[in-house]
């Protein structure tokens, strides 16, 4: 079975802190994604990566950056956390065609 793991299920940080969310997949997938999920807003793509060191902005990249130094690992970085970044963060990975995405369990981040 494909496994996508995220470093924390719950995280509480203070405003202004630098926050790292880690995601690891074990299926040698080319593509990896970071989403945030808020009630009523569905899944919003923050960034995705289609290869090591390659990344593309999603719909809401402001305030976030990403890093993919190894194929299996994709990190989301909040340079200076703000309260409006309190959310559920989901990581996903997919192979090329047909691109079905496998999701991690999510990290619920609270910024106080």
């Amino acid at each position: 079975d494909v496994k996508v793991t995220q470093s924390s299920r719950y995280l509480v940080k203070r405003t202004g802190e630098k926050v790292f969310l880690e995601c690891v997949q074990d299926m040698d997938h080319e593509n990896m994604f970071w989403y945030r999920q808020d009630p009523g807003l569905g899944l919003r793509l923050i960034y995705f990566s289609y290869d090591v060191k390659m990344k593309e902005k999603g719909d809401i990249p402001e305030g976030y950056s990403v890093s993919r130094e190894k194929k299996e690992r994709f990190s989301l970085i909040l340079e200076s956390a703000s309260t409006n970044q309190t959310s559920m963060y989901l990581c996903a990975s997919s192979s090329d065609f047909p691109y079905e995405q496998y999701f991690g369990p999510g990290t619920r981040l609270t910024v106080t």
Partner: protein, 112 residues
């Protein structure tokens, strides 16, 4: 550009049927369906491609009307385990199938 899902919510009794629709104003290349149970990550159900190809679980059926740019997910003889939020993700081009545009979801509750 975001696909529209309907209905927004549906309540069923066990054994009843339901149809969830996903409509786009743009020509679609593929439609992906996912289910998210409460407190869990989304799980892949089905992908439908322009031209009729499908890939997914045997117990789930769906259709893709290319003329209407609409996909429908058919849940027959519903079980309690079908409860959750169903999301459709759409891709507009074959060459850009990695990045999906997500609908806001349809909440399904199946009661005994």
């Amino acid at each position: 550009q975001q696909p529209v899902q309907s209905p927004q919510a549906v309540i069923l009794r066990e054994g009843e049927d339901a149809v969830i629709n996903c409509s786009s104003s743009k020509a679609l290349y593929s439609v992906h369906w996912y289910r998210q149970k409460h407190g869990e990550a989304p799980v892949f159900l089905m992908i439908l491609l322009k031209g009729g190809e499908q890939k997914g679980h045997e117990k789930i059926s769906a259709s893709f009307n290319e003329k209407k740019q609409q996909s429908s997910l058919y849940l027959t003889a519903s079980q309690l385990s079908y409860s959750g939020t169903y999301f459709c993700g759409t891709a507009l081009e074959a060459g850009n199938n990695r990045k999906l545009i997500w609908g806001l979801g349809t909440s399904l509750a199946v009661n005994p």
